[in-house]
Amino acid sequence: MSFVTFFVLAALAVGSAVGLLVRRNPIHGALFLVVNLGTIAALFLTLRAEFLAAVQVIVYAGAIAVLFVFAIMVLIPGKEETGPDPLRGQRLLTVPVVTLLLVLLALVLGSGTFQGPAKPPLAGGTEAVGRVLFTEYLFPFEVTSVLLLVAIVGVMALTKRRA
């Protein structure tokens, strides 16, 4: 049963990623991205990371996807990728290069990461994540708030219309 769930979710994730790559209209790409982020959230659930699944839906599928759709609506692109491709030769090279990257990743991951028995699954779930966030990772957690503040100020400075 869990295998069926995994393969259905994996097919959805890969299919939506392909959709994002091949559709010319960026709004279709954004909708495919939402599907992809949702399937990743479901995969987090199957890995028993309930907290991250919830955060994924709220932050990614909620905030970030809406931000993308807003930007697309503001800019109304969609006709930019027509016309002759100035870098056609380089783009033809990408597929073999990415295939090479995938082979390298498979070699590295297959060379010992998954040897040996797996540890027993964790107990605690969300509570354990909260505990580790507020004890061991307290300083990075606080730095995150500064990062978000810098991002807010930076966005306001960037988008302010100069008179």
């Binding site: 995994f6 994996a10 890969v14 990623a17 994002l20 790559l21 790409g29 954004a30 992809n36 982020l37 990743i40 995969l43 987090f44 890995l47 028993r48 990371a49 991250l52 955060v55 932050v59 990614y60 905030a63 931000l67 993308f68 930007a71 800019l75 930019e80 990728e81 100035p86 870098l87 783009r91 990408t94 990415v98 990257l101 995938l102 990743l105 991951l109 990461t113 797996a118 540890k119 027993p120 699954p121 964790l122 605690g124 354990a128 994540v129 580790v132 966030l133 061991e136 990772y137 957690f141 995150t144 990062l147 978000l148 810098v150 991002a151 807010i152 930076g154 966005v155 960037l158 988008t159």
Partner: protein, 100 residues
């Protein structure tokens, strides 16, 4: 229970597709979405490997990655909007100088 190596393999495939998107697309918005794809693939691998090693450190790291991704998307989209106001066109091939 599905072995964690399946999740990591899926994450490698998704990451490669994100790289492909960054390389073949010309629209900066789609390139940004492909970067999100790569970040999500990395998150999936972190959670799967954290489960395998029986720690929550992977999940804590994913939480920070999500925060950084949120900040990155906000700033990146603001930069794209600013470039669009300046140029009225959006194609990364034409944006080869850092000067306005």
């Amino acid at each position: 229970m599905v072995p964690e190596s399946y999740y990591v393999a899926l994450s490698a495939v998704l990451f490669s597709m994100g790289v492909l998107g960054v390389l073949i697309r010309r629209d900066p918005l789609v390139i940004f979405m492909s970067i999100e794809l790569m970040l999500n693939a990395a998150n999936l691998a972190l959670v799967a490997l954290g489960q395998r090693h029986g720690t929550t450190d992977g999940q804590a790291l994913v939480f920070f990655v999500m925060c950084v991704a949120a900040a990155e998307v906000a700033v990146g989209l603001a930069i794209i909007v600013a470039i669009f106001r300046l140029r009225r066109r959006l194609s990364v091939d034409e944006l080869s100088t850092l000067r306005g």
